[in-house]
């Protein structure tokens, strides 16, 4: 039935003179997503719309799933394209479309919403509404017209061909990746940070990531888990450079020299500092974390103030007001949840104090950090120099 999809986008439409840049980026990402789907697709921009056409056989569900990973798409409408514009033929085709998509046994109300941008077509929209509605009623006696609250709005657009559609599958929304700069994600193996990365990428931001690895306390499989998570996020966000930083020596130094209940907060401050270094290298304009106020000791308002104090870049915290369950729901939608709950420890969970500070005072934390003065610069430099960068690219 369907050989094409009409791609609807929301916010791009209001981007004024930059609109074509956003549209081109969207086309690029649609092409990228469809590369993974078997079939011969063409993606075209026509008169302020984007169409995906399939030549020959293709799998409808796989195609829709792939399109649902493209940020910037607000809706996906499977379209019937009628090339033969002969009026009788058009009536038959529209009636046949309804008969196939809404078969008997599902009584429904509908209305035809015709538009005729192509004014050379000899029948205007009023005529089209009336004649096509009649054709549908004749072919499908179980359908009724309701112009006020129809179950189905049958949209008919007369352009160089006639486009018929009645359904819009929601897309992920947002804006095409790359249209809003880039940011550095602090990615752990947990549930939150992949979701945070997803949400910022959804706003069109290209993403790179930093993972803190602490062998022998965290295993090679814990690292593999993070690579797997980055791969899932990259289905939506495109290419991700994943920097794997060996954090063990820094963690040990903090452990030995600083008060134990401050370990996590101090550790997180060094993670932010290192992430900012990589942001600089990658040309990123902000940091992304999965923090949510009060979720754990290191994410109380006081703790956030303390970790935030070491950054000069803005820190994007898209989950800041989310409850855990809301984050879990998102993770399940995105498809990262199952991977996130694999039981490998990451370096945020080892050595955690039984009673970490929940109301750290910035001055106190800074004073504790001075105990690291003689070693920390060198340890940071070594950690950065020995970082392994993995390029994650779903293509």
């Amino acid at each position: 039935m369907y050989q094409a999809f009409l791609i609807k986008y929301a916010e791009i439409g209001i981007k004024g003179k930059n609109r074509h840049l956003f549209e081109d980026a969207l086309v690029h990402h649609i092409v990228r997503a469809l590369k993974k789907v078997e079939g011969n697709f063409s993606v075209t921009k026509e008169m302020g719309r984007i169409y995906v056409r399939a030549e020959g056989g293709f799998d409808y569900d796989e195609t829709v799933e792939a399109l649902k990973t493209v940020f910037g798409i607000a809706g996906i409408s499977p379209v019937l394209i009628i090339e033969d514009m002969d009026y009788e033929h058009v009536k038959d085709a529209v009636a046949g479309f309804v008969r196939t998509v809404y078969p008997e046994g599902t009584p429904r109300t509908f209305k035809v919403a015709a538009r005729r941008p192509n004014k050379s077509y000899p029948h205007d929209s009023m005529e089209l509404n009336a004649d096509l509605g009649e054709a549908v009623l004749n072919a499908c006696p179980w359908m009724k017209v309701d112009v006020h609250h129809p179950d189905i709005i049958l949209t008919v657009e007369v352009r160089q061909s006639i486009y018929v559609y009645s359904e819009t599958i929601p897309g992920p929304g947002g804006m095409p990746v790359g249209s809003n700069g880039s940011a550095e994600l602090l990615l752990s193996g947990g549930i939150d940070s992949p979701v945070a990365g997803y949400m910022i990428a959804k706003r069109g931001v290209q993403i790179d990531a930093v993972y803190f690895h602490a062998p022998p306390y965290t295993s090679e499989r814990a690292k593999q888990k993070v690579v797997d998570l980055a791969k899932i996020v990259s289905k939506y966000a495109g290419r991700i450079r994943l920097h794997v930083v060996n954090f063990t020596d820094i963690q040990m130094a903090i452990y030995e020299k600083c008060p134990h209940e401050e370990l996590t907060i101090i550790m997180r401050r060094y993670m932010m500092r290192i992430a900012e270094k990589f942001a600089e290298k990658d040309g990123a304009l902000g940091l992304i974390t999965g923090e949510s106020i009060g979720q754990v000791a290191s994410q109380t308002a006081q703790s956030l103030l303390c970790t935030n104090a070491v950054c000069s870049l803005p820190v994007y915290r898209p989950l800041i007001g989310f409850d855990k369950q809301e984050i879990v729901d998102r993770a399940q939608q995105i498809g990262t949840f199952e991977t996130s709950i694999q039981p490998f420890e990451d370096c945020c969970t080892i050595f955690v104090a039984k009673h970490p500070v929940t109301h750290p005072i910035l001055r106190v934390i800074e004073r504790s950090e001075h105990k690291l003065d003689d070693v920390i610069d060198e340890l940071m430099q070594t950690a950065i120099d020995t970082t392994e960068t993995i390029v994650i690219d779903e293509e």
């Binding site: 022998p216 306390y217 295993s219 040990m252 039981p343 420890e345 104090a353």
Partner: protein, 385 residues
């Protein structure tokens, strides 16, 4: 230096095994079911392996059924008995320390309405045969007990169990998971009154994906896998000639010097246990008399150091061990075996399994002792406060 001390997870193939595997892949690659000469040539490997294995166990070649390995053998013994004997009863007795290749099919049968009894073991990991006697009922169809526990190396009294069952209720089938025992301890199913016995190839320097289930002639079990009727219709599927040939060669070689091997491994086990005994807070899990456990398994807890941390530290020095059972490392939480022997939380969390083969050397053990002396005190400086 490298020390591979994870031989209970898997072993390196013998060179002779790799040779025969290659030969059956490149030269004698026929399908034993084919009528032509290529098929006949390939079939010879199957016959030969069946003869080797039956010779070792002192059973008939026709009582050996080749499978894809230990897990399939165990699954088949349980499901095959459950289906064939369902009119006689629905009670299956096993232990709390079985490998998941027995415990998981048992749980699946439980979901299907079978009654599963999981007998406790003592602190040494050994089943008390009186508990088993007391658990027997008229509707019991199967007793499944492992011969050597894969995590702590405890040896179960299978000969006594076999004797007791045969004299009391000979219609109860007795299955023994001998995956960790074969090639290490003498096993004679006829004398020990074992009805079914599971063996895996890759634990004895054979290929992965190979193994067998011994099924006594008197036993009737249903097939698990149906198809072209190979192996008397009991286990269909094109014969895995490379696996079966490799399994035969491996079994022949490992069993030829079983006693010397066992002695060698007991010495290594004692050497390692004594070598680290001066490190404080080291516990032996399983039989405290090392010679009462299997020769190739030593399970130690270095209290205060999480198993995985020690594992990864040793790994960085070229020493390969397991944290608990390799097969259960994907799950969080304690191992069923460690829970069954009432190990404390700190013992459980720090348990590491060292497992040897006859190829393990004293040098490797001494190197490991040296590394442990170096890293254990270091790691103990960094623990959760």
């Amino acid at each position: 230096m490298e020390a591979y001390l994870d031989n209970s997870a898997t072993t390196r193939c013998y060179n002779e095994v790799a040779d025969v595997v290659q030969k059956t892949m490149l030269t004698d690659y026929g399908n034993p079911s084919s009528m032509h000469q290529k098929g006949v040539d390939a079939e010879k490997y199957i016959r030969r392996s069946a003869e080797i294995l039956s010779g070792i166990l002192k059973v008939q070649p026709g009582e050996i059924y080749f499978t894809s390995g230990g897990t399939e053998s165990n699954n088949w013994a349980l499901f095959g008995t459950a289906r064939a004997s369902r009119r006689r009863g629905k009670r299956i007795i096993t232990t709390a320390i079985e490998h998941s290749a027995v415990s998981a099919p048992a749980s699946a049968l439980e979901d299907m309405g079978y009654e599963i009894v999981r007998l406790p073991v003592g602190r040494d990991g050994v089943l008390d045969i009186h508990d088993l006697e007391n658990a027997l009922t008229d509707d019991t169809i199967l007793v499944s007990v492992m011969m050597v526990n894969n995590e702590i190396g405890s040896i179960e009294p299978v000969a006594e169990i076999g004797e007791m069952l045969r004299s009391r209720q000979p219609d109860i089938w007795f299955h023994v998971d001998a995956i960790q025992a074969f090639g290490k301890l003498p096993i004679f199913p006829k004398r020990m009154k074992i009805d079914m016995l599971s063996v895996s190839g890759h634990k004895i320097h054979g290929p992965k994906g190979s193994g067998f289930l011994y099924v006594d002639r008197r036993v009737r079990i249903s097939p698990l896998i149906y198809g072209g009727g190979q192996q008397n219709g009991m286990r269909s599927g094109t014969d895995n000639v490379p696996g079966v040939a490799g399994l035969g060669v491996a079994a022949e070689k490992i069993c030829a010097s079983m006693q010397e091997n066992a002695e060698h491994m007991y010495e290594l086990k004692e050497r390692l246990a004594h070598g680290v005994s001066d490190l404080n807070d080291v516990r032996v899990n399983g039989p405290q008399d090392l010679r009462r456990g299997a020769p190739h398994i030593l399970n130690l807890s270095f209290i205060g150091i999480r198993s995985e941390v020690l594992l990864h530290t040793l790994e960085s020095k070229g020493i390969y061990v397991s944290a608990g059972s390799a097969c259960s490392s994907h799950r969080r939480g304690g191992s069923a075996t460690m829970e069954a022997i009432h190990a404390s939380r700190e013992v459980m969390e720090s348990s590491v399994r060292f497992s040897f083969s006859e190829q393990t050397t004293e040098e490797e053990i001494d190197y490991t002792i040296g590394v442990l002396h170096e890293v254990v005190p270091q790691l103990r400086r960094f623990t959760r406060k």
